[in-house]
């Protein structure tokens, strides 16, 4: 059967704990109804490695923390008709943003030098700072909407499966949902 006519959905995991994705998957048998109703074209739970050229609904979990996150967000925006910030990290910055009163340099010093014990020499520990193959941190971890335009906000840590189900089914029915009765900051 062709899936060409189904709405396409992508989910993206930026700086978050994946709890929002877990909550998405935690909607019990309703996930089967969704699986029939939409085509999941890009997600940590499906195989494609490249973000598709055009997606109807993209769900973003996580804050924008690194330079790579920001690039991804911009690419997603350019290729998505409707972008949802899912969960407190995407919506408020949440736990990833707790580093923001400190500079990335201070953070690295704390994590890799002050709080590390090996090797014994502090300068040797400093040499082990991860700089190769990892994206640079931006000065602040920020909510997604500080980087790109977001069409719908679903706060919660994580947003309950009921809220995610409600949001997606309403969107598929052609309505713009207000999930505020089902979730809030910190839910």
């Amino acid at each position: 059967m062709s899936t060409a006519t189904k709405p396409t959905v992508a989910t993206v995991w930026l700086d978050g704990c994946s709890g929002c994705h877990m909550s998405f998957l935690d909607m019990d048998e309703r996930i089967l109804i969704l699986a029939n109703a939409v085509d999941v074209v890009y997600s940590p739970v499906v195989d494609p490695k490249e973000f598709p050229a055009s997606v109807d609904i993209t769900i973003i979990e996580g804050a924008v923390s690194s330079v790579e996150d920001a690039h991804k967000a911009e690419l997603i925006r350019a290729r998505s008709k409707f972008v949802i910030s899912l969960g407190d990290c995407a919506v408020t910055g949440n736990v990833p943003a707790m580093r923001n009163p400190y500079s990335p340099k201070e953070l690295f010093e704390r994590a890799y030098v002050e709080n590390a014990t090996e090797p014994a020499d502090a300068n040797a520990r400093r040499m082990k700072l991860p700089v190769v193959g990892v994206p640079a941190l931006r000065p602040h971890a920020t909510p997604v909407h500080e980087v790109i335009k977001v069409d719908l906000f679903v706060p919660g840590c994580p947003p309950p499966a009921d809220a995610i189900w409600f949001v997606l089914t309403e969107l598929l029915a052609g309505r713009v949902p207000d999930p505020s009765a089902l979730t809030r900051f910190g839910k």
Binding site: S85, D88, V91, T92, G93, N94, V95, A97, M98, N100, P101, Y102, H140, T142, P143, H145, E146, V150, F153, V154, P155, C157, D178, P179, S180, R184, F185, G186
Partner: protein
């Protein structure tokens, strides 16, 4: 025995005719008539502060907004407690409170019992338009039983008022100005070294957020108990 004569007034709130006694505030009269006006700094039993401005209302004939908690009713007044303009201002106030300090609901002991959090939900604040400030603030854990987390304080001063007015200790006060204001103990000493704090916990229980909490509580475990305040206020009224 003297006969008290109290002037009574009539006014309209949201188009509804109401009567009240002279000297009553718009907030008092609205609540008597089950008309809801949101508040954060206001707390029944404490003196008026008027700091949060969530209770702003419109009064016909004036372009200004009035804080319902601190505005006395007047004869013939026409008050609007809910309009698109008021909703916009109230939402912005809540957003400013969130952006001003580091409120991280998900990892707060008051998660699920926080007035700022529930106010955001009630007013439909599902994200913050303003850039967050991320100030570097401290947590005072010097007291054996309580904790003061400046990251989560909205400067409502309920703690200052309950400590001064109800407990009579006046341990708590405010230092600094504007956005740099902070709650202090005594002359800005660590709470644990305070000589005036009686350890009554009233400040903890009137605090609307996770700024003042009991130690030993984990995420979402800090459920504030407010029942003492109307009770103590009633006892005090009876003594008069």
């Amino acid at each position: 025995m003297s006969v008290m004569t109290v002037q009574s007034l009539t006014l309209k709130i949201d188009g509804k005719d109401v009567s009240c006694q002279a000297g009553q505030t718009i907030l008092e009269v609205a609540r008597e008539h089950d008309i809801e006006i949101p508040t954060l700094c206001w707390l029944d039993g404490l003196t008026l502060w008027g700091g949060c401005r969530l209770c702003v209302v419109e009064v016909a004939g004036s372009p200004k907004l009035f804080a319902a908690c601190g505005t006395a009713c007047a004869e013939g007044m026409e008050v609007t407690t809910n309009s698109e303009r008021l909703q916009k201002y109230r939402k912005t106030i809540v957003e400013m409170l969130f952006s001003e300090r580091n409120h991280v609901c998900a990892v707060c002991v008051s998660n699920g019992h926080c007035e700022l959090q529930s106010m955001a939900q009630k007013l439909g604040v599902n994200h913050v338009h303003l850039p967050y400030r991320y100030p570097k603030l401290t947590v005072d854990s010097s007291n054996d039983r309580f904790r003061l987390d400046h990251n989560r304080c909205i400067l409502c001063t309920r703690c200052v008022r309950v400590c001064g007015e109800i407990e009579g200790a006046h341990t708590k006060d405010v230092k600094g100005r504007g956005i740099n204001s902070q709650i202090i103990n005594d002359l800005d000493q660590p709470w644990g070294e305070s000589e005036t704090c009686t350890g009554c916990a009233k400040c903890v229980h009137v605090c609307p957020t996770g700024a003042l909490t009991e130690r030993g509580t984990a995420v979402a475990e800090m459920n504030k108990k407010r029942q003492f305040l109307p009770y103590l206020t009633l006892m005090r009224e009876n003594d008069k």
